[in-house]
C-alpha cells in the first residue's frame, strides 16, 4: 500500500513535469508552425524567444503583472518578426542566414539590455510571475489530476493546438497559408497575395514565439537569465518537423521531449548511478532517435525556405 502510493505520486509529478517543461516548446512550435506552413523556415526562433523572455520580465516588472509581461513579450516578438519578414520576404535574404543573425543579435542584445535594466544582481522578488491555476474537479482526479494544475499559459498552449489545426484545415486563411507554402506561384495566380500571407504569418508566429519566451522568464522562473532559452527554440523547430507540420503532431513531439526532460530530472533525483551529463542528453537523444526512426518521408511544404520572385 505504502509503496504503490509513492509510485503513484511519482507518476503524478512526472506527468505534471512533462507538461510543464513541454509547454514553452509547444508555444514556440505552434508559432513556428504558422510561418512554416507558409514556406518560411525560421531558425531565429531561438533568438526571438530569448528577446521575448527579456521583454516579458521587463513588462511584468514595469506593470507588476505577468499577463502584461506576456503582452510585451508578444509585441517584442512581433517586432523581431517584422525585421525577419523584411529580410526574407522583401529583400529575399537566405532564411537560415537571417535566422542565425537574429539569434546572434538576440544573445548579445538581451545580455546587454538585461544588465542595463536589472543590473548584475537582479532579484527575482520584484518580478511577478504566473501562478498555477488548478482546474476545479479535474485537478482532483488521482494521478493525472496534476495535468490540470498548470500555469495559465500552458492551458492556452494546449488550446492553441486544435485552434491551429482547424484554422489550417477549415478556413480560407488556412488554405491560403498552405497554398503559399506549397506553391507560391500557384497561389499568386489564384489571386492570393503571397507577400501579405508571408508577412502576416511571420509576424503572428513571432509574437507567439515571444510569448513562449515569457513563459520561461515569468512562468517557470521569475527572472531573466542570460541565454535562458538554451536550445528550446531549436527543439521547437525540430518538433514542427517531427510533428509533420501538423498541430497535433507538434503537440506529440513536444510532449515527447518533455517526457525525456522529466525523466532526466526524476532519475537525477532518485540518485541514479549514471553521470548527470548523460541524463541531460536524454531528451535530445530521445528526440533524435524518434526523429530518425519514425518521421519517415519528409512532408515539408514544397516551397520551404525559398523566396518568391514575381515575374
Amino acid at each position: 500500500m505504502e509503496v504503490s502510493n509513492t509510485i503513484l505520486q511519482i507518476i503524478s509529478s512526472f506527468i505534471e513535469a512533462d507538461l510543464r517543461v513541454a509547454a514553452p516548446i509547444l508555444i514556440a512550435a505552434i508559432g513556428l508552425l504558422y510561418m512554416e506552413k507558409a514556406g518560411v523556415v525560421n531558425i531565429g526562433a531561438e533568438g526571438t524567444m530569448l528577446i521575448g523572455a527579456l521583454a516579458g520580465s521587463i513588462g511584468a516588472y514595469l506593470f507588476q503583472n505577468p499577463w502584461m509581461g506576456a503582452l510585451v513579450a508578444a509585441l517584442a516578438g512581433g517586432l523581431v518578426g517584422v525585421m525577419f519578414a523584411y529580410l526574407v520576404v522583401t529583400v529575399k535574404a537566405n532564411q537560415i542566414v537571417a535566422g542565425i543573425a537574429i539569434n546572434i543579435l538576440a544573445l548579445g542584445g538581451t545580455t546587454t539590455v538585461n544588465r542595463i535594466f536589472f543590473g548584475l544582481n537582479a532579484s527575482s522578488s520584484d518580478i511577478p510571475s504566473f501562478t498555477k491555476v488548478a482546474i476545479p474537479l479535474l485537478s482532483e482526479i488521482p494521478v493525472i489530476g496534476s495535468l490540470f494544475n498548470q500555469l495559465g499559459l500552458a492551458y492556452l498552449a494546449i488550446l492553441m493546438v486544435p485552434f491551429t489545426y482547424y484554422l489550417m484545415k477549415k478556413t480560407t486563411i488556412g488554405l491560403s497559408i498552405r497554398s503559399v507554402g506549397e506553391h507560391p506561384e500557384s497561389a499568386d495566380t489564384a489571386g492570393i497575395n503571397v507577400f501579405r500571407i508571408r508577412y502576416g504569418t511571420i509576424i503572428i508566429g513571432s509574437m507567439i514565439i515571444g510569448v513562449a519566451g515569457a513563459y520561461l522568464s515569468v512562468g517557470l522562473l521569475s527572472f531573466f537569465s542570460e541565454n535562458m532559452v538554451s536550445g528550446r527554440g531549436y527543439i521547437a523547430l525540430a518538433s514542427v518537423i517531427f510533428g509533420k507540420w501538423n498541430a497535433f503532431g507538434v503537440l506529440g513531439a513536444t510532449l515527447l521531449f518533455g517526457f525525456g526532460d522529466a525523466l532526466q530530472i526524476r532519475m537525477q533525483a532518485i540518485g541514479s548511478a549514471i553521470p548527470y551529463q548523460f541524463l541531460l542528453m536524454l531528451p535530445y537523444l530521445l528526440t533524435v532517435a524518434a526523429w530518425s526512426g519514425f518521421v519517415g518521408k519528409a512532408v515539408a511544404p514544397k516551397a520551404s525556405g525559398k523566396p518568391y520572385f514575381k515575374g
Binding site: 497554398s179 500557384s186 497561389a187
Partner: protein, 507 residues
Amino acid sequence: MSINILEMKNITKTFPGGVIANKNINLKLRKGEVHTLLGENGAGKSTIMNILSGLYSPDSGNILINEKPVSLNSPKDAIKYGIGMVYQHFQLIPELSVVENVILGIKQRREPFLDIKGSADRILEYSNKYNMGIDPCAMVWQLSVGQQQWVEIIKALYRGARILVLDEPTAVLIPQEIDQLFNMIRQFTAADFSVIFISHKINEVKEISDRITILRKGQKVNTVETSEVSKPELAEMMVGREVLFKAYKKKAVPGVPALVLDKIEADNSKGLQALKIVSLAVKKGEILGIAGVDGNGQSELVEVIMGLRKSTSGSVKVMDKDVTNAHPREILDCSVGHIPEDRRVSGLMLEMNLRENLILHDYHTVPHSKFLLNWKFIKEHAEKLIEDYDIRTPNSDVLAGKLSGGNQQKLILARELHGNPDILVAMHATRGLDVGAIEYVHKNIIAQRDAGAAILYVSTEIDELLNISDRIAVIHSGEIMGIVNPDNVTIKELGLMMAGSKKDTLL
C-alpha cells in the same frame, strides 16, 4: 460584326537580360470566338497571355475590356475582369484536393470557413455539364494530366471567367481527350464565352479556331480568318520558311541488337508492379518506337534502362554488357544517350547556365576538368554546341530555365547527341514543341540512326511514332501488347492495342 470583348494594344515586354518577348503586339478578341495564337517555341505566346492574366507587367501598351481601358496588376485583377487563365505549366497544388485548388483565394459563403461541401457540389455540376468525370475530393496528385487540365478549366469557370485562355492545352492530352476538349470549347463559345487557344499543332488550330494570330520572334505576323488560309501557309507564316511535315527517312539497315531487355519487371514509386516481363531488343541503326497512353509503364521502362530504378527481375544488356541495376554513370559511360521525359524536371538544371548544363555528363573527365574545371574549354565547347544545334540564346551565361521549350530541348539534344552515342533512349522528345522544332529533333534523331545508333523512342503521339519509327512496340499496363510495322498498321489497330488488346487477338 460582333464587338471586341478584349483588345490588347501595342504590348511590349522585355525580360531582364534583354530578351524582347513581345514587341508592339496588337490583339483583338471578339465575343464568342475561338482565337488561336500560333507561333514557334519562344515566339512570345505565353508571355502576352501572362500579361493578360496579370502575372507579368508589360513595359508599355494598353488593355481594353469591353472597350474600357483596364489595368491588370495582379492575377486578382484579371480574375475580376473575367479572365480565366489555364497556364502552360499547370498552377495546381498537387498536395491539395481538387476542391481546395478550385476555391483557393475565393471568398467563401460562410467566411472565414471553407465551404467544402457546397463547392464540391458546384464542381460536380461543372464536371457533369462538360463530361469531365472529376471527383472533387480527390487529391490533385492522384489525377492524370488530362484530368488536371479539366480541373484548371473548372477553376477558371468557377471564378466567373468570360474569356478563357488555354495555353497549349493539347500538348499533354491524348487524342480522345483532345476531342473532348474541343467539345467543351464549342460549348463555351455557344454560351458566348470567348476562348484564346494556344497551340502549334496546325491540324488542331485549323479545326477549332475562328481566327488565328501568328506570332514570330515576339512580333505579330498577321491575324487571319481560319477559313481563308491553308495549313502550309500557316506553317510558313509561323516559322518563316517552308516546313516538311513528314520526316524524310531512308529505309533502316538494322544491325546487331545493341540494347536488349530480357523479362524485365519493376515496381513504380508507389510499390505497385509497373513492368511485367518486358522483353525488347533494339538493333543498331533502327528506331524502335514505344507507343502507349501516358502512365502505362513507359517512365519506369526508361528509368530501369538508365539505372534510375531498380528492376525486380530480368536483365538489361548494352552491347552485350550486363548493366542490370548498374549505376547510372556506368550506363552512360557505355555510350548511352538519354533524353528524359520532362526536360524541366530531369533533363536540365534550370538554375544553372547553358555551359554547366552542357557538361553534366562529362564534367569529371579530361578536357573538361583536370582536377579543376577548365572553364575556358567548357565555354568554347558550349559556344560550339550552341552554334551547331542552333540554340537561340544571347550567350552561354543564360540560365537553362530561361530558354523557351524548344531551345531547352535543343540544349538536351546537344548534350546527348554530340558524342554520337551507340544507344539513345528518348522519351517525349518533342512534347510541347512547335513544328519547326519537332522537325529539327526528328532530323537529328534520324541522323543518329543512320550513323548506326540503336534508338528507343517513347512517345504518346501516334502520328509521330508512325512517322519516325522503324518498328513500334505498344505498351499497356506495363506489358508489351505486341510489336508492329508502322507501314502496315492502322491507327485503329494501334489504338486498340494501346487500350489493352494483344496484337495476336486483333488478327
